[in-house]
Symmetry: C2
Subunit: 304 residues, 2 copies
């Protein structure tokens, strides 16, 4: 994974210049987010329990892997596990892609009956008690929350004794109709643009896409209202959805997430907020929660 934010006009030029600088001046290499990750001990990377990974195989061969967040939305996530076990999601489709907002998938025509064991009206799992939650705080102010940080690898906001998952790029939520409906988990979306933080505490957030954002975010935008595809033929079919634990070992994903409790993560946050890379002339001195999501090893490369 490359986290360097350089904007190469010509990659060959940059490489040559860097090599020359190293050779002639023998200046020490600056500590960068990339160099910190490259030096991370193996134990600082965690494999997610396969029971907590939802694997979506798309028509055409693309794969999306979602880390589930029972700690924040237990009833909704339990529904999703049951829907996967019942193979209920198989044959559904991605039906909506709204630029700078969300990609959404589920049952476009709303006609497929839900299995009997699904909780049809889950509680509003939009936030939870902050007490008892693991929390690695970020030492920077946030526009929306009293504090922000990481918990189990996921981005969290906190205020007044409540905690919630924040709507960052790649976070997954449960589609719902108007209040007091909370959705069931049959209809899901992932954020593909500017963090829509106004949705925080208004929707059940159920996890994070670890693998496959490069596929979801690159889908053609829908031209109907709210980014729905105008023509059903534009939808992308979902071939199969399973918990990783229900897949044969050879088909299980292997992405690893940097532990947010590790020394490597702390150093990475510090380096991202205070960039020493040669490119930067003025380090920001701060970092926002949506640029602090733990790096993933074994997925496609992502932004800085």
């Amino acid at each position: 994974m490359n986290l360097t934010p350089r904007f190469a006009r010509l990659l060959a030029t940059i490489s040559a210049a860097a090599m020359t600088a190293t050779t002639s001046a023998a200046a020490p290499e600056p500590v960068t987010p990339s160099s910190i990750l490259a030096a991370a001990p193996a134990d600082d990377w965690m494999a997610i329990n396969p029971h907590d990974l939802l694997v979506i195989d798309l028509a055409g061969g693309g794969r999306v892997v979602i880390q589930l967040a029972d700690v924040f939305a237990p009833v909704h996530v339990a529904n999703m596990r049951k829907l996967a076990a019942a193979h209920w999601y198989d044959g559904l489709a991605i039906e909506r892609v709204q630029d700078n907002y969300v990609v959404q998938w589920g049952d476009p025509d709303g006609k497929k009956p839900l299995p009997g064991e699904i909780v049809k009206a889950p509680p509003a799992e939009y936030d939870r008690a902050a007490g008892g939650l693991a929390f690695t705080p970020l030492p920077y102010p946030d526009t929306f929350a009293k504090a922000v940080g990481l918990s189990g690898g996921l981005p969290v906001g906190e205020a007044d004794g409540r905690a919630w998952l924040t709507h960052c790029y790649g976070m997954v939520g449960v589609g719902r109709d108007l209040n007091p409906d909370t959705g069931t988990g049959a209809e899901l979306y992932a954020v593909i643009g500017t963090p829509p933080r106004a949705l925080d505490r208004n929707i059940a957030v159920v996890g994070r896409v670890l693998v496959g954002m490069d596929i979801l975010a690159a889908l053609p935008r829908g031209t109907a209202e709210m980014g729905f595809y105008a023509d059903p033929k534009q939808r992308l079919a979902i071939a199969r959805v399973r918990l990783a634990s229900d897949l044969p070992p050879t088909e299980q994903p292997h992405a690893q997430v940097l532990r947010d409790t590790s020394a490597t993560f702390a150093a990475w946050i510090q380096a991202k907020a205070n960039r020493q890379d040669t490119f930067f002339v003025r380090p920001a001195g701060a970092l926002d929660i949506c640029n602090a999501l733990p790096p993933i090893k074994g997925a496609a490369r992502v932004g800085m």
Copy 2:
């Protein structure tokens, strides 16, 4: 443009429910960002001077329109106007798409000589004096700047007497090599993911994409280092780049931007920070600068 953040499980269901509610309870319609825009007087929308619009026509028919920001990066923007007038950009290509970061275009092989009138080493127009700048502040805290707000329709950060354009979704910057190089404007990028605010004050930001983000952000991600396309055949060719003022009237774009100094804009900001739409159970009470970019009329629909 639809700004409603509802997540429909079934559009027909929502519409039916809304009609029933209106008919039976006769409740007043809530004031929403959408209703405010729908009621905006024509004078609150501004057409951008065609001399300040860079129009990129892509191979295959897609069009990208960029509002130029002379006030922040005059030398770089002047270079861009000269490159467009010289037809220098024609035949170049989109060469890099890095998920959750940037799409970048220019001269992939770095071989095309620049016209003689180009300033080859512009000053570091990364920020400017805050004095004398029109500024509509947002009354909410920011992680990076002392204050944030809008100026001429563009998102601005301010601290210690300096002001700069912030890296939000759709903002355009000048690719450069390592410091002290500042780039010329020959190589450009647009943000397609989480705002990479660490780049603020480290790069010349030259404008905002008003039209065509739905095209740029949906391009296939590159698989080589930093999201460059591994195979030159994957690049998307740029057919023609012109100032709108140099196009025949029939080919000029017509997007309009909501004036950030208008009463409509103030009401829209207020409504976005304090959502009264039936969907919301807990308004955020705040708004971040990258969700406060002035709405555009005549472009593809965008997120909330």
